[in-house]
């Protein structure tokens, strides 16, 4: 029944799906209607009463989250009486709300603050001594801090654990204004998706212990990116800031909505993988445990490529563009390229939702480019060479005994984003940018091609500029697409939208 009908909102006419809920329809059209309990992933709950609108023909204001669209409906979201209603209901939400803003991490992305500035701006009509007190800063596990006083009882978090993860760790207990969100006694959050409640919570009742007091949100910039933790390719925002005298640092990942890939959520492990991304970065080039200048390193690299017939190994988490230029490099010097995916497989990580057993980010591109992936073919190639050039492949940067055995008697050149101490002793260890520092694209296990933006502005050399220096391939992702990938896929780089493109 997806009949489109005409409705009028604040004097503006537009078409809307008959029977659809009014609130999401208004939000989709950019009409701001305040709300707490409604969430796109959870649906409405009708308890906050913030989304009240006037509907012609109805003597009482109606909650937009429970109103189905009818033909010729006339809606007013801002008139004197509905503005008064909104203000009064907001006042009630704030009645016992602690004035924690100066110490609350939610400040700057808090619905209460936003609504108060938009249409509240009233003095409190109740003495602060009479505010109802509940428990604050409860560590409920999985990096989540619960502050029951700040909670507006919208039930998003409880509905998340009931309906989405079905792990039921959170419940509303008690009654009336004594009601509060709680975990079970002596138990905490357990689901590997627990930290999503932090994003769901519209106020500072559920906050990240990991992020606590680290950074004010208005100082951070958000880059549209893709998590590299596994082949699901969940969309994220990289929130980062460059403080004085420091490098541009990532403070957190947040989910980015992509209906085809991850919906509204990401897993906790992916969310916290920013720490890995940020820390232990390689800044200098090393050869045999001594610092080496970049010029000398490149000189040696060229020498190796020209004379030592090395085997190129690529991480299956490199971007499509990086893989493309490395493949061109291999063709130029008549060398083989291998990916070796075993090191990135982890069956224990897999679940039925957003966690894939393939812990690499771009295996699908590897396959598309016909780069070999098996251990058998790698071992065969290793027999014909005494030198490997490793482009950020984790299994060879931090080899297990199995991989160490494969590399026995081989010389190693490593291009790494992170500092692996044992690699400093090798022939060459050269620093490159990590994914958060450059743009690129990936294909996830569902065959969706997704772009990610350059996030941090730390000036680190990335693979594209490195290979450009060697064989003058394009030095930007756009360039690689224009020269090569456009033909492969049949569309332009710009045509990959914000939500990716199924191929």
């Amino acid at each position: 029944m997806s009949e489109m009908v005409s409705i009028s909102v604040d004097g503006q006419k537009f078409q809307a799906k008959k029977g659809a809920l009014l609130l999401p329809t208004l939000l989709e059209h950019g009409i701001m209607v305040p709300h707490f309990c409604y969430h796109e992933a959870l649906g409405p709950d009708g308890n906050c009463r913030m989304c009240m609108v006037s509907i012609e023909g109805q003597k009482r204001p109606q909650i937009a989250c429970d109103t189905p669209i009818k033909k010729d409906m006339v809606v007013s979201t801002k008139n004197e009486s509905i503005n008064d209603v909104k203000r009064k209901i907001l006042e009630l939400e704030l009645l016992s709300h602690p004035v924690d803003c100066p110490i609350c991490d939610q400040a700057g992305e808090c619905s209460l603050q936003d609504y108060y500035m938009a249409f509240g701006l009233n003095e409190s009509r109740r003495p602060k001594e009479e505010k109802k007190h509940k428990n604050k800063k409860l560590d409920i596990g999985k990096n989540i801090i619960l502050d029951q006083e700040r909670c507006v009882l919208c039930a998003r978090c409880t509905r998340f654990t009931q309906e989405i993860t079905k792990t039921n760790e959170l419940a509303i207990i008690g009654r009336g204004n004594d009601a509060r969100v709680s975990t079970l006694p002596n138990q905490g959050m357990q689901t590997p998706y627990a930290m999503n409640v932090i994003d769901l919570c519209p106020v500072g009742a559920l906050t990240s212990k990991d992020f606590r007091f680290k950074q004010r949100v208005w100082f951070m910039h958000s880059a549209k990116s893709v998590c590299h933790g596994c082949a699901k390719g969940c969309n994220i925002f990289i929130d980062h800031n460059q403080e004085k005298y420091k490098s541009d640092t990532i403070f957190r990942y947040r989910p980015r909505i992509n209906k085809e890939v991850n919906g509204h959520f990401i897993c906790d492990e992916g969310r916290l993988s920013y720490k890995e991304e940020n820390s232990n970065r390689l800044e200098q080039a090393y050869a045999h445990n001594k610092l080496i200048s970049k010029e000398n390193a490149i000189a040696y690299l060229l020498h190796a490529l020209n004379t030592l017939h090395p085997l190129l190994i690529v991480s299956p988490s490199l971007s499509l563009e990086e893989l493309t230029v490395i493949q061109l490099l291999s063709k130029h010097f008549k060398l083989e390229v291998h990916a070796y995916v075993q090191g990135y497989e982890d069956e224990s990580f897999e679940d039925e939702w957003l966690r894939s057993k393939d812990r690499s980010a771009n295996l699908a591109s590897i396959k598309k480019l016909d780069i070999k992936t098996s251990e058998k073919s790698l071992k065969a190639a290793l027999e014909c060479t005494g030198l490997i050039i490793n482009f950020n492949h984790f299994s060879f940067l931090n080899p297990s005994p199995h991989e160490q055995a494969m590399l026995l008697h081989k010389k190693e050149i490593h291009f790494s984003s992170h500092n692996f101490e044992n690699c400093r002793h090798k022939k060459l260890l050269y620093p490159i940018a990590s994914f958060s520092e450059h743009e690129g694209s990936l294909i996830n296990e569902g065959g969706i091609l997704q772009k990610y933006e350059a996030g941090l502005c730390n000036e680190r050399e990335n693979i594209l500029s490195l290979v450009h220096e060697l064989i003058a391939t394009p030095s930007t992702a756009q360039g690689v697409w224009d020269a090569h990938l456009k033909e492969v896929f049949g569309f332009e780089y710009e045509a990959i939208g914000d939500e990716g493109r199924k191929i």
Partner: protein
């Protein structure tokens, strides 16, 4: 330290189950049975009921804390619940509370091993105001004397 229904409660449960379209209806009856069995509703009892009805523990916890008559901790032997709503207040509930304090030394909200004194909302006995509920029994048309006599009888 785990809980399971007594034979009596198990039989009651079995008799009730087919009378409802869904086992979840039995949450309240099961909580009552657990409370009668142990004198209060323990965490273990809630976990047992959750498992028995295939309902999340968090759900049980939310339900048990919603209703005034469920106790999640043991309480005194005699729970004196004095009705405090309008008709009883108009008819002298404060005198009754005073009498209770004189006999037990406890004010409303206080408790010792023998008595717990609570004020509760309208018990549906307004025609017999002032009144109290002692554990499960209604005692209506109270006077200061009858209240004291009732408590003295319990103390002995």
């Amino acid at each position: 330290m785990s809980f399971s229904f007594s034979a009596h409660n198990e039989a009651k449960f079995a008799a009730l189950l087919p009378r409802y379209p869904h086992p979840k209806s039995l949450v309240l009856p099961c909580l009552w049975m657990a409370q009668y069995q142990e004198g209060y509703i323990s965490q273990e009892a809630m976990a047992y009921i959750a498992h028995k009805l295939d309902v999340p523990m968090a759900h049980l916890y939310g339900v048990a804390t919603f209703y005034t008559m469920f106790h999640l901790e043991p309480i005194a032997k005699y729970h004196i619940q004095v009705c405090k709503t309008l008709s009883c207040e108009l008819c002298g509930k404060d005198d009754i509370l005073k009498a209770i304090e004189e006999e037990t030394g406890l004010k409303a909200g206080e408790s010792n091993a023998l008595f717990k004194v609570s004020q509760v909302e309208c018990l549906g006995a307004c025609g017999g105001a002032p009144m109290l509920q002692l554990n499960e029994e209604y005692h209506e048309n109270l006077s200061v004397q009858s209240t004291k006599a009732l408590l003295q009888g319990l103390k002995s």
